[in-house]
């Protein structure tokens, strides 16, 4: 018996979501009195550190098609069988979402995606209705696939680094040809960001975004926006958060010039702390905020940037 964790590598490196998954899996393993095994795709070079979050074994296989759900799910399912895993844990990332269902079918397992806490017995919870409620699911059968919502727990180093071992797997031929991958370098992607600075129509136009970027830079935050801002092309559409955009749950969400429409809130109301900057005292966003600043964002935002600079110095 074991818990098998699929740790996702990005360009050969491991990020927060991989450490969270390993820590979650190892906590789950100790709760049910078994071991945590990690499986990862890559050459194993940076995989040793995964052990620090409580894994007793680290397996790797350097398959070519690292983003094809057909290939990845086949590999993870085989690793799970080899580990005689009762549970497979992975992150609820773009790749995690594409493979979780496939793995559950292959293993004839129950599936809960986007879990926000460790299971208690066979019950596990997740956010539903865009974070407006939490649902408990009962998992039956003897195998379970759980994907973990980012930022649900803080990974703690409980073990030591292990020596990654290569494993042989039967890898299916990929039917997807990757032509190109375009990512913005040096920026933490929104779903993984702990600090987010977001702005809306109150900005008046794209040429004013400099003050938002300055604030994000001093904080080391990722930028986001409301839907009309993305729809009118003021900002790239991957920055659009909300019910029909990206759903996020950072530690800090700063919203400037966003009214706080219910569809916007749906994507951000799970943030730990919300700061709202708006010149309208009736803006609905104030009701969802922890801290509110009533004022003109063109004054307030630069002032906040200066205050943070001072604090960091």
């Amino acid at each position: 018996m074991s818990v098998l964790i699929f740790a996702e590598a990005k360009n050969g490196n491991y990020k927060k979501n991989a450490f969270e998954a390993v820590y979650y899996g190892s906590q789950l393993a100790s709760a049910i009195g078994t071991e945590a095994f990690v499986f990862t795709i890559g050459d194993g070079a940076n995989a040793a550190d995964l052990g620090k979050y409580g894994a007793s074994k680290i397996w790797f296989n350097n398959a070519q098609a690292k983003t094809d759900s057909q290939v990845v799910s086949a590999m993870v399912a085989q690793a799970a069988e080899k580990a005689e895993a009762t549970h497979v844990v992975l992150s609820n990332s773009a790749l995690g979402k594409a493979v979780a269902g496939r793995i559950a079918v292959k293993l004839d397992a129950s599936l809960v995606s986007g879990a926000n806490a460790l299971p208690i017995g066979n019950t596990v919870t997740k956010g539903v209705f865009s974070g407006k409620a939490i649902a408990s699911f009962e998992m039956s059968g003897d195998k379970h696939v759980i994907s973990l919502m980012g930022n649900s727990l803080k990974p703690v180093e409980t073990g030591s680094s292990g020596i990654p071992e290569a494993i042989e797997l039967d890898i299916p031929q990929t039917k997807l040809k990757v032509i190109e991958t375009k990512t913005v370098d040096g920026v933490v992607p929104l779903p993984e960001a702990e600090l987010v600075v977001s702005a809306g129509r109150g900005m008046k136009g794209p040429e004013n975004w400099g003050i938002i970027e300055d604030l994000a830079n001093v904080l080391g935050a990722t930028t986001a926006c409301s839907r009309p801002v993305a729809d009118t092309g003021w900002r790239p559409h991957h920055e659009h958060v909300g019910q029909t955009g990206v759903a996020i749950r950072p530690n800090l969400y700063i919203a400037a010039g966003i009214s706080g429409a219910i569809q916007h809130l749906a994507g951000v109301n799970s943030s730990k702390t919300i700061v709202v900057i708006n010149k309208d005292p009736e803006a609905p966003f104030f009701k969802a905020a922890d801290y509110g600043v009533l004022g003109d964002l063109f004054d307030v935002v630069p002032r906040l940037t200066e205050a943070i600079k001072k604090f960091k110095a």
């Binding site: 759900s69 939490i134 649902a135 040809k177 019910q243 943070i308």
Partner: protein
């Protein structure tokens, strides 16, 4: 070419969320339902565009009770050629996917279109499970798609960017924002929809391993603390000492 578009219904985005029967059921009273935006705005419209260019037909499929017919008719009004409803109250993504996979297999479907996720349960599960049941490639979160009749070149959203992939039909895709431009049904479409076939079929059995037990509401927020706009040092202090987020 047969294009299957899976459509689901979801509470209208401003609907009040509450629960009944010991918090075990969603309270549907007074709730208006809409077609899931990802299914309607992106998946369905792109499928219709492909049919307009390459021929074939667009079939809208829903797993749900008869009260969903109004949403299915809307898909027909937007431009689907026919529809099928699997008459069942779905209890899990596995159940829904099983119905879709079964229908796709029996009806020689070339591309299965799903939405990125339903905006109520935020599962993002059905498309991945369906693809596995059909043993087909799956392209998730497609935000752009070119298709030459055999091979599709698809841009899909990944964390912080996009990945461009090529795949040959048959395959399964899930649609995210950008794949198409929303179409509003016109009068002619609405009239024609009444005459288009909506077939009701029985569900194939499936026993679900994940069961929804109950709901809870997250703890309410405390009253907002208003900060003097002249005193941003105070806000920074609170974020550091009280909220402990910086």
């Amino acid at each position: 070419m047969n294009l299957l578009v899976c459509i689901s219904k979801t509470p209208e985005t401003t609907a009040k969320i509450s629960f009944i029967e010991d918090n075990s059921k969603f309270n549907t009273e007074g709730v208006q339902y809409i077609m899931n935006p990802y299914d309607e705005w992106y998946a369905l419209v792109r499928a219709i565009e492909l049919k307009e260019k390459h021929g074939g037909k667009v079939i809208a499929m829903n797993v749900g009770p008869a009260s969903n017919d109004i949403i299915i008719r809307k898909a027909l009004a937007i431009g689907a050629d026919e529809a099928v409803r699997v008459d069942a109250e779905p209890d899990s993504s596995m159940f829904v996917a099983k119905q879709i996979a079964n229908y796709a297999q029996e009806n020689a479907i070339d591309i299965v279109f799903c939405g990125k996720e339903t905006i109520d349960y935020n599962g993002s599960e059905v498309a991945s499970i369906t693809a596995e049941m059909l043993d087909l490639p799956f392209v998730s979160y497609a935000s752009k798609m070119e298709f030459d009749g055999t091979t599709a070149t698809i841009e899909r959203d990944i964390e912080g960017g996009v990945e461009v992939v090529q795949v040959e039909k048959p395959f399964v895709l899930s649609a995210s924002k950008g794949l198409a431009e929303q179409r509003i049904p016109n009068m002619k479409g609405i009239m024609m929809a009444k005459r288009k076939p909506l077939n009701v079929v029985e569900a194939v059995g499936h026993d679900s391993k994940s069961k929804l037990l109950s709901y809870t509401m997250p703890q309410g927020k405390q009253e907002v603390k208003m900060i003097d706009p002249e005193n941003m040092d105070e806000l920074v202090r609170l974020l550091h000492e009280e909220a402990k987020v910086i």
